[in-house]
């Protein structure tokens, strides 16, 4: 995992995102164990409470499971991954919309560009 201090995203959310992406792209499989809080904190030299906060959020979202013996494990359900995929894409599209607004590109024009690109993909 990597932390970007220049990013506007709080560190705990950066960890949450990276775990999600790894899980969605198959780098993490169900049952894989996440590094212990202390270990990851030492590796990234970040506050252990930040790692704990990220793991708690992942647990609340049903992406990891903590077992009584200790340890946090990936535990993804199918409907969960579908929602996550869509949330991830929505997030990126929202960034594009914000950027278009900042550049002063009207929404209708943005829709046109989007359709154009989608169609180009079909024609290949």
């Amino acid at each position: 995992m990597k932390i970007d201090l220049k990013s506007g995203v709080p560190i705990y959310l950066q960890i949450v995102e990276q775990v999600k992406v790894s899980a969605l792209f198959g780098r993490y499989r169900n049952g894989d164990r996440l590094p212990p809080v202390r270990e990851l904190a030492m590796e990234l030299r970040i506050n252990p409470n930040t790692v704990a906060k990220a793991y708690q959020l992942l647990k609340d979202e049903g992406i990891i499971d903590s077992r009584p013996g200790g340890g946090n494990f990936i535990s993804l359900q199918q409907d969960n991954t579908d929602t996550m995929r869509e949330a991830m894409l929505s997030g990126e599209l929202k960034n594009i919309i914000d950027k278009a607004d900042a550049l002063g590109v009207p929404r209708e024009r943005l829709t046109e560009i989007f359709h154009h690109l989608l169609n180009r993909g079909d024609n290949k």
């Binding site: 506007g8 709080p10 202390r38 904190a41 030492m42 030299r45 506050n47 252990p48 900042a102």
Partner: protein, 299 residues
């Protein structure tokens, strides 16, 4: 102010060394129990003086300070057992070896933790049979941190401890600090101007300018409220918009630091007639530099 949830509370604290030169000019500072707090400021703004008043080494001229619910001056003896302090250039007992030092310090502190001690000795790789005076600066500072952490303090105060350490020693020192944060109830206050190393460790930051705090908030909140707007160098004069913290020219770009809601700031710049600009998030160090920029540099 609840004494239970705050480790340190300072209100209206002032300190002058001579009648003309006041160093701390009305410090209001709050450090929550169990948090990591970065006290940031350029050299000479009063960080060390503030820390010395918090540790009871100096008495304030005015104002109130409460540390772990105690008065740092009146309750100095009681406080010394709950608090550990590592400062830049701190002197240990140079003629001792690390084992002598451990034996010596341990005698004063019943809370001394042998397990933590063994763990840190291994982690820091401190040579055993050598006198402290023959340690490198990095080793020496790590020895001081070891002495502080093994006492299992409720409050750990680090006054610019990494000054003069090379990168490798700084990293090892930071690992020791990360290790120490694990205890839920332990509060850590860090005074420094080397920000990248401590940004990801800190829950709160206070930025000190000329004897008082100009900003004190959770780090995530600070980072969410500042943005850098980059315009072409020939973009024209920046009008007096609310939220502008500083303006500087790099030659290629004009960089405006703003504080506020990103969408509102973007809209304000559009309204002022600027068409081409990018809005970027900032690191804590960038924010620090913008907030502490002298007025003549910033326009």
């Amino acid at each position: 102010m609840s004494e239970n949830s705050n480790a340190i509370v300072a209100r209206g604290v002032r300190k002058a060394y001579t009648r003309k030169k006041e160093v701390v000019k009305g410090l209001d500072l709050t450090v929550k129990r169990g948090s990591v707090y970065a006290l940031l400021g350029c050299n000479g703004v009063g960080k060390t003086t503030s820390i010395r008043m918090i540790t009871g080494q100096l008495a304030p001229d005015a104002g109130e300070i409460s540390v772990l619910g105690l008065d740092p001056v009146k309750d100095a003896v009681k406080l010394r057992r709950k608090m550990a302090y590592v400062a830049e250039g701190q002197k240990l007992y140079d003629w001792m070896t690390i084992d002598d030092l451990i034996k010596f310090v341990k005698a004063f502190y019943p809370e001394w933790d042998d397990k933590v001690c063994a763990h840190l000795l291994k982690m820091f790789g401190l040579p055993r049979g050598v006198k402290l005076k023959d340690y490198s600066r990095g080793m020496y500072t790590k020895a001081a941190l070891l002495g502080a952490l093994c006492r299992d303090p409720d409050l750990l105060i680090l006054d610019d401890p990494m000054l003069g350490l090379d990168t490798a020693a700084r990293r090892e020192f930071m690992s020791g600090v990360v290790d120490a944060i694990h205890e839920f109830d332990r509060t850590v206050i860090f005074s420094t101007h080397i920000i990248p190393e401590i940004e990801a460790l800190s829950d709160y930051a206070g930025i000190m300018v000329d004897g008082r705090l100009t900003l004190e908030a959770p780090v995530d909140e600070i980072k969410a409220s500042f943005r850098e707007i980059r315009l072409p160098a020939d973009a024209g004069d920046i009008p007096e918009l609310p939220g502008i913290v500083s303006v500087r020219n790099t030659g290629e770009d004009k960089i405006v630091t703003v504080k506020g809601v990103e969408s509102e700031m973007t809209a304000a710049f559009h309204q002022a007639g600027f068409r081409f600009f990018t809005v970027n998030a900032m690191s804590l160090e960038d924010i620090f530099l913008a907030v502490t920029a002298k007025p003549e540099e910033s326009r």
